[in-house]
């Protein structure tokens, strides 16, 4: 059967994508951030998942206010980078995995998660930046991609608990797939940030680090945190963190934290990254440490 080999939580800040696209990684502003994510790239190069399920939110790219699906699963053969107003990012199109994606759709819906099925869904920075964070600039993404788009822009986003339980249903779907794919699941967005209003620029590092701690050791507890607390403590856009709970739900109850990075700022955002493996499995890599 297919296997979930790991979960990754990562921010999906567009400025990070732009820094990669325009070779700014060595600049003083960016170098400390890229030093911190280097071990995650090393892990990814060794883990070599066949498929990445990328849980992200669209930012007025594929979906407008005309239609606002809470959960939209991409079943297409290919997903093109979206034009967010600058012209599309110069990154490879993502190759989908329609057979597995359709299995996920069927399994999730019969498991009472009424997701929307998307045959055409351009992917914006929410999906492409995490791929760049983990893979840098390959000619083609070295994995197949199943995008799972979550509405977090139009209030209310799905609850943390709903997201956590959706992750568990994704796990059941992967466990029941007869293929032998090794699957990683990426929960993206966050961490604390507020782009809008007079309170723009809010960062709450204490919240972010506590979130990562609880994601590892008490995800069911973290899943009970309500929207108002995210809005107040992590900023209006910090609510994206509920998407990390989908990733966490797809893992075993006991996980091993193999890497964590945190950096302020990337643009207007507190940036976090965490890699989790199921504790019952052998470690994928030797222990990772941040470059000195």
């Amino acid at each position: 059967m297919a296997e979930i080999i790991a979960g990754v939580g990562t921010s999906h800040v567009p400025a990070v994508g732009a820094a990669i696209d325009h070779a700014k990684g060595d600049q003083p502003y960016w170098a400390p951030f890229f030093d911190k994510i280097a071990p995650a790239r090393e892990w990814m190069a060794q883990a070599k998942p066949d498929v990445c399920i990328v849980v992200f939110n669209d930012h007025a790219s594929a979906f407008s206010l005309e239609l606002i699906p809470t959960f939209a699963l991409g079943v297409a053969q290919t997903f093109q980078p979206a034009d967010e107003g600058y012209g599309p990012r110069g990154v490879p199109a993502a190759e989908g995995h329609p057979q597995l994606a359709w299995h996920l759709a069927e399994s999730l819906i019969l498991d009472e998660f009424d997701i929307t099925i998307a045959n055409k869904m351009p992917i914006d920075h929410g999906c492409t930046v995490p791929l760049s964070v983990m893979y840098d600039q390959p000619e083609a993404w070295p994995c197949k991609v199943i995008p799972l788009c979550v509405n977090v822009i139009q209030y209310p986003a799905p609850t943390g608990n709903r997201c956590y339980n959706l992750g568990k249903a994704i796990r059941r779907a992967i466990d029941s797939w007869p293929g032998d794919e090794r699957v990683a699941i990426l929960g993206t967005g966050g961490m604390s940030h507020q782009l809008q209003g007079e309170r723009a620029g809010l960062v709450n590092v204490d919240f972010d680090l506590a979130f990562m701690d609880r994601l590892v050791s008490d995800p069911a507890g973290q899943a009970q945190v309500d929207h108002t607390e995210y809005l107040r403590e992590a900023g209006s856009e910090g609510i994206e963190l509920v998407m990390w709970l989908i990733m966490r739900g797809a893992l075993d109850e006991q996980v091993r934290e193999v890497y964590r990075a945190h950096h302020v700022p990337t643009s207007n955002t507190s940036n976090g990254l965490i890699i989790l493996e199921n504790a019952a499995n052998d470690p994928i890599t030797a222990p990772l440490t941040e470059a000195a």
């Binding site: 206010l65 034009d83 782009l195 209003g197 309170r199 809010l202 960062v203 700022p265 207007n268």
Partner: protein, 142 residues
């Protein structure tokens, strides 16, 4: 006034528990209804042909959307904070900022009433602390 009229004023909001978060416009249903045309105008700028049309004839292009006079003026004068107050969502209004060649930090500076240099330095220094910025009453009287 009809509750669904685009003329509906922001002050007509039904209260929500997050309303006491200062300087924050939660994009809920009430807000979304108010800002539908404004946000859909912004969304249209995802398409290169529309960007060209807007650049060539801003007034004529805005005529295509059912904007209130206030929304139209806020767009024309690039009042980023006011656009939010009139129902805009930052991910949508940012499409207009992209059109203008602005960064999110420049828009953030405008919305929070500081210079770009001040805003950018605040982020480098660790961002705006949550302390003192959680509740409206912490801002009142300042």
């Amino acid at each position: 006034m009809n509750a669904d009229s685009p003329e509906r004023a922001p002050s007509d909001r039904e209260p929500r528990e997050y309303d006491d978060i200062p300087g924050t416009y939660v994009f809920d249903g009430q807000h979304s209804r108010l800002g539908y045309a404004l946000n859909m105008f912004c969304m249209s700028l995802n398409e290169a042909d529309n960007r060209d049309a807007f650049a060539a004839d801003p007034g004529g292009y805005l005529d295509r959307f059912d904007l209130t006079a206030e929304q139209r003026a806020a767009i024309e004068e690039r009042k980023w904070l006011e656009m939010l107050q009139l129902g805009g969502n930052i991910y949508y209004t940012f499409k207009l900022a992209i059109f203008d060649g602005l960064s999110m930090q420049q828009v953030g500076a405008s919305m929070s009433g500081v210079t770009f240099e001040e805003f950018s330095q605040m982020m480098i220094d660790g961002g705006r602390s949550a302390d003192g910025n959680r509740y409206q009453h912490e801002w009142d009287g300042n």
